[in-house]
C-alpha cells in the first residue's frame, strides 16, 4: 500500500511536460545539475542529521568552546561558501553554451490572451503562419523570438529547456535544441489573466525531413472545404473577421489562424481534444470553456450551423 503514493509521486517525473524527463539539450543540462544538487543535498542532510544525533545522544562529554567554534567556522561558513562557489561556477559555465546561436530556422511566438501566435521563418522562404502547436526538427538548434502585445506571458516547454518571459515592448530570444522525437507540452508560466491555466500548446518533435514536409503543408492554403455548408456559415457569421483560413475569404488576424486546424492535436490552446463535439462546444460556449477570452460565445447560432462549422473546421488538414 505504501508504494502507491510513491508511484503517484514518481509519475510526475516523466511524461510530456517534465523537466526531469528531458528531450532537449538545455533540459538535459539543467536536469543533470538538478540531480547532482539533489544527491549532494542528500549527503549533506545525512551528515548534518548524523552529527546532530551524535552530538545530542552519543557523545558523552561536552564540546569545548574551541571545537564548537571550529565546527561553526568550517561547517557554517567555509564549506557552504566553497559549495556555493562550485555551483555558481557550473551555472555560469552553462550560460554561454545555452545561449549559443540557433540554426537557420527561426520561429516567432507571440503570447496572446490566452493562446499562442506562431510564425515560422524558414531560411530563404516566406513566413508560415500557425498557432497553438509547434512542430520542430530533432537535432537542430531553433531560435525563438518571443513577444507579446497585451500582458506578460512566459513561454515554457519543460521537456526541452528553460522558460523565457514574453514582455510587452520587448523581443526575447530563446534557443531550443530537441534531442529526441516525441510529443511534448508547453504552457504559459506567468499569470496572464483568468484563463492563464488554460493557455498551453503541443510540441511535436519530428525528423528533419518530416519537418520539411510538414512545413510545406502548413504553408499551403487549406485544401478542403470549398462550397461546404460550414464554410458558408463561418463566413456569413463573420468568423473571418478574426480568424484566417488561407484559401478562403477569411483573413482576420485577431484570433488564431485556423488554416490547418484539423491537423493540430488539441483545441483552444492545448486544453481540449480536437474533436467535432469539442469544436462545436467551443464555438457555442467559449465563455465557459475559456473565461475572459476575446472570442464571444456563439450559442445563439442554430445547432445545425454550429455542427456544420465544426465539421468544416475538421476538414482543414
Amino acid at each position: 500500500m505504501r508504494a502507491v503514493p510513491l508511484a503517484g509521486l514518481l509519475a510526475g517525473c516523466g511524461g510530456v511536460q517534465s523537466a526531469l524527463d528531458p528531450a532537449g539539450f538545455e533540459a538535459e543540462q539543467v536536469a543533470r545539475l538538478f540531480w547532482a544538487m539533489l544527491v549532494a543535498s542528500g549527503v549533506i542532510w545525512v551528515l548534518v542529521l548524523g552529527l546532530a544525533h551524535y552530538a545530542s545522544g552519543r557523545r558523552e562529554k561536552p564540546w569545548s568552546q574551541r571545537d564548537a567554534g571550529r565546527l561553526i567556522v568550517w561547517g557554517g561558513a567555509v564549506v557552504p561558501t566553497l559549495l556555493l562557489a562550485v555551483l555558481l561556477f557550473f551555472g555560469l559555465r552553462l550560460m554561454p553554451e545555452l545561449r549559443a546561436p540557433g540554426g537557420p530556422l527561426r520561429v516567432h511566438v507571440e503570447g496572446e490572451q490566452f493562446w499562442w501566435r506562431v510564425r515560422y521563418h524558414p531560411p530563404g522562404g516566406a513566413p508560415v503562419e500557425s498557432a497553438n502547436a509547434l512542430v520542430l526538427p530533432v537535432g537542430q538548434r531553433v531560435e525563438f523570438s518571443l513577444s507579446t502585445r497585451d500582458v506578460i506571458h512566459s513561454f515554457w516547454v519543460p521537456a526541452l529547456g528553460g522558460k523565457m518571459d514574453m514582455i510587452p515592448g520587448r523581443t526575447n530570444r530563446l534557443v531550443l535544441e530537441p534531442t529526441r522525437t516525441g510529443e511534448f507540452r508547453g504552457a504559459c508560466a506567468e499569470l496572464c489573466g483568468a484563463s492563464h491555466a488554460l493557455m498551453a500548446f503541443t510540441v511535436r518533435v519530428v525528423e528533419p525531413a518530416e519537418f520539411e514536409a510538414w512545413l510545406a503543408r502548413e504553408a499551403a492554403p487549406a485544401a478542403a472545404g470549398t462550397g461546404h455548408a460550414g464554410e458558408a456559415a463561418f463566413l456569413a457569421h463573420g468568423c473571418g473577421a478574426c480568424h484566417s483560413v488561407r484559401g478562403t475569404a477569411a483573413r482576420g488576424a485577431i484570433g488564431p489562424d485556423l488554416t490547418h486546424l484539423a491537423s493540430r492535436p488539441t483545441l483552444g490552446a492545448g486544453i481540449l481534444e480536437n474533436s467535432a463535439a469539442n469544436r462545436a462546444a467551443f464555438i457555442a460556449r467559449v465563455d465557459e470553456i475559456k473565461p475572459a477570452a476575446r472570442m464571444p460565445a456563439y450559442g445563439t447560432l442554430l445547432d445545425t450551423e454550429i455542427a456544420a462549422i465544426a465539421a468544416w473546421l475538421g476538414m482543414l488538414r
Binding site: 561556477f89 550560460m95 554561454p96
Partner: protein, 125 residues
C-alpha cells in the same frame, strides 16, 4: 586611511569592507553595461572588459585584506572571546573589530562571486 593604521575602530572602519564590495560591484556592472550597450549586439567580444574586471577585482581583494588586518588588530588578535558585550571601551573596540573582520570575510567572498561571471562569459548574450 580608513582601513589602515587607524588607532580606533568606529562605524566608518566597520563600513569600509562592504563599501569596497559595493564599489567593486558597481564598477563591474556599469562597465559591462556600457560595453554591451555601446558594442551594438549580443556578440560583442568582452575580452578587454574581462581584463578590466580582473584589474578591479585584485585591488578590491587586496584592500579588503588590508582592512581585515586592521580589524584583527582592533579585535585584539582574538585574545578575548566574543560576545564582547561589556560596557567598556576595550570591549567596544573588540566588538567593532570582530564585526569588521566578519564583514571582511563576507565582502571578500562576495567580490569573488561578483567577478566569477568574467571567467566563463565572453560576450553579451
Amino acid at each position: 586611511m580608513l582601513i589602515h593604521n587607524r588607532r580606533h575602530a568606529n562605524l566608518w572602519t566597520l563600513l569600509a569592507p562592504p563599501a569596497i564590495w559595493a564599489v567593486h560591484f558597481l564598477l563591474c556592472y556599469v562597465a559591462a553595461a556600457i560595453a554591451c550597450a555601446k558594442g551594438g549586439g549580443p556578440w560583442v567580444d568582452l575580452t578587454s572588459l574581462r581584463w578590466v574586471i580582473l584589474g578591479i577585482t585584485l585591488p578590491a581583494l587586496g584592500l579588503i585584506l588590508v582592512a581585515g588586518r586592521q580589524a584583527r588588530r582592533h579585535w585584539g588578535f582574538g585574545t578575548d572571546d566574543p560576545p564582547h558585550d561589556q560596557a567598556t571601551d576595550e570591549d567596544r573596540q573588540h566588538f567593532l573589530g570582530y564585526a569588521t573582520l566578519l564583514l571582511c570575510a563576507l565582502s571578500f567572498v562576495s567580490v569573488i562571486f561578483v567577478a566569477m561571471p568574467a571567467i566563463t562569459i565572453a560576450d553579451c548574450r
